[in-house]
């Protein structure tokens, strides 16, 4: 098999664009969040560095770089160094299968606006995200600090519990689209976005996604009033920044998945696909910040009970109803 070099270069360039896009997205998401939370709390938020505080992320990045990179003496050094990298790479990889727009023509070549259209698309995302939890547990354990360890254990329990409703809520979407590929799922929403047909699944998925991303009100992993800073208590400088990035990028990934799976992806009238995708993405990110500014943190046992006693049964019921409706449709009842 000979390698099509131009095709290879296109893929590499797209991968770089996705990676840098996510990093820049992260930087400005922190600005977006701080400004918004400021408004929610009746204050102004960072507005001093650059116009409207737009250069604040640059200043923060510089500060992070020049902090002391400290490794505790009793820590397990290789794992301590590896853990933030695992957390970060998992979220970066998971964006690869998300289509941000329809294919475009550039220099006489058809260029698709996603990195990979894998046959089992959404399952790849779930698999990669489930590996991301190693970053949290290992970071917690390797720090050799009881608060970190507790944070790490909480993270492991939480992610495993919420992976179930996360996956189960999507079964209805897969059944409607008849495919696991995110590209096919977007195309199946040409007429009606799935949030109309699968409202329950959308709600369950959203809660599970917030919990997967360890965002408030499900951020028990780093609950500062009981665990100092949770699994990243001992982390400083660039390693801490990696954890921070992983959290914010997983927020972007969760929003992108909500858009792709339930809000019709890049489909929309008048504007080009990629613009629609970003409008919907920013809206979802706003909802994330909105929730953080509004809701207090949920208690830990409630968090687990929520997943196992409410979200899992709901998503199973949703699968049953969807399957029944599809059978009735095929029989021609409606």
């Amino acid at each position: 098999m000979s390698i099509d070099w131009i095709e290879l270069i296109i893929v590499v360039v797209k991968a770089l664009i996705v990676a840098f896009g996510l990093l820049i997205g992260f930087a400005y998401l922190t600005w977006f969040e701080r400004r918004l939370v400021g408004r929610f709390q009746m204050r102004i938020g960072p507005n001093r560095v650059g116009p409207a505080g737009l250069l604040q992320p640059v200043a923060d990045a510089l500060k992070m770089f020049f902090k002391e990179d400290f490794v505790p003496g009793q820590a397990d050094k290789p794992l301590f160094i590896m853990a933030p990298g695992i957390a970060m790479s998992a979220v970066l990889i998971s964006f690869a299968v998300v289509p941000v727009g329809p294919s475009i023509r550039l220099f006489g070549r058809e260029i698709t606006l996603y990195l990979a259209d894998v046959n089992v698309g959404m399952l790849v995302v779930i698999a990669v995200l489930s590996l991301g939890v190693y970053g949290i547990i290992l970071g917690g354990w390797a720090s050799n600090n009881k608060y970190s360890l507790l944070g790490g254990l909480r993270g492991a329990a939480q992610v495993i519990s919420y992976e179930l409703p996360y996956g189960l809520s999507l079964v209805g979407v897969f059944m409607l689209a008849g495919s696991l590929s995110l590209k096919d799922i977007v195309e199946a929403q040409a007429r009606v976005p799935f949030i109309v047909l699968q409202p329950l699944a959308a709600i369950v998925f959203f809660f599970a996604a917030v919990a997967e991303a360890n965002r408030s009100p499900f951020d028990l992993v780093e609950a500062e009033n009981e665990l100092v800073a949770g699994y990243h208590t001992e982390y400083s400088s660039i390693k801490f920044a990696l954890y921070f990035m992983a959290e914010y990028i997983s927020m972007i990934v969760a929003s992108a998945l909500m858009v792709t799976l339930f809000l019709g992806g890049w489909q929309g009238p008048f504007l080009p696909g990629i613009v629609w995708f970003f409008i919907k993405l920013v809206f979802m990110l706003f909802v994330f910040v909105w929730i953080r500014a509004t809701w207090p943190r949920i208690r830990y046992d409630r968090l687990m009970a929520w997943s196992w006693k409410l979200l899992v049964p709901l998503s199973v019921a949703n699968i049953l109803v969807t399957a029944g409706a599809l059978v009735l449709r095929d029989m021609g009842v409606f």
């Binding site: 098999m1 390698i3 794992l79 894998v118 046959n119 089992v120 399952l123 790849v124 779930i126 698999a127 990669v128 489930s130 590996l131 939890v133 190693y134 547990i137 290992l138 917690g140 354990w141 360890l149 790490g152 254990l153 492991a156 329990a157 992610v159 495993i160 992976e163 996956g167 696991l180």
Partner: protein, 173 residues
């Protein structure tokens, strides 16, 4: 050619990780090497066009089962994480015997598949998609599939029962 390089890389890492699982003294490192082994196996499945099997391998084994393993290992207090030099009586000869038996079975299976080399592959393998796998799973292997489901359900019921009969969480000890 490209595929061969990938195969060699992943196969070598998978083997090295598997040896490491057994040779490593630190239980936590053993568990992590096992995760690495699973990921390499998943990569090998992808090379064989079995994407669904690969993803299932990562979600179920690397993502869920091993996280629970780590969960348990991490709760062991510091020193006990090193495996004690304790051995069962007659462990070495028994281990050699079992290893040989397993090796023989694997060789037998390998011999069987070598005979099949050159024959056209099963459609599920060449297509490599979920539909083909589902078709085989829900027609030819439907009984095995359903039986596995019942077995897992029994296991879940068993776990719930064991938890119920133990002390209630939060109750004074």
């Amino acid at each position: 050619m490209f595929e061969l390089i990938l195969f060699v890389v992943f196969a070598v890492v998978a083997l090295a990780a598997a040896i490491g699982v057994v040779a490593q003294r630190n239980v936590l490192y053993s568990a992590l090497l096992l995760v690495l082994n699973f990921i390499c196996l998943a990569a090998l499945y992808v090379l064989m066009n079995a994407q669904f099997v690969a993803v299932a391998q990562i979600i179920v084994y690397a993502g869920a089962v091993m996280v629970l393993f780590l969960f348990t290992v991490m709760l062991l207090p510091g020193k006990r994480i090193e495996v004690a030099g304790r051995r069962l009586p007659g462990q070495t000869p028994l281990a050699i015997l079992l290893a040989l038996a397993l090796g023989a079975v694997l060789l037998l299976l390998l011999g069987g598949s070598l005979v099949a080399l050159g024959r056209p592959a099963h459609p599920a393998i060449t297509v490599g998609n979920v539909q083909a796998l589902a078709e085989v799973l829900f027609t030819r292997y439907i009984w095995a599939f359903e039986a596995t489901g019942v077995l897992l359900l029994v296991a879940v019921a068993g776990v719930v029962h064991l938890l119920r009969s133990g002390p209630r969480p939060g109750a004074p000890r």
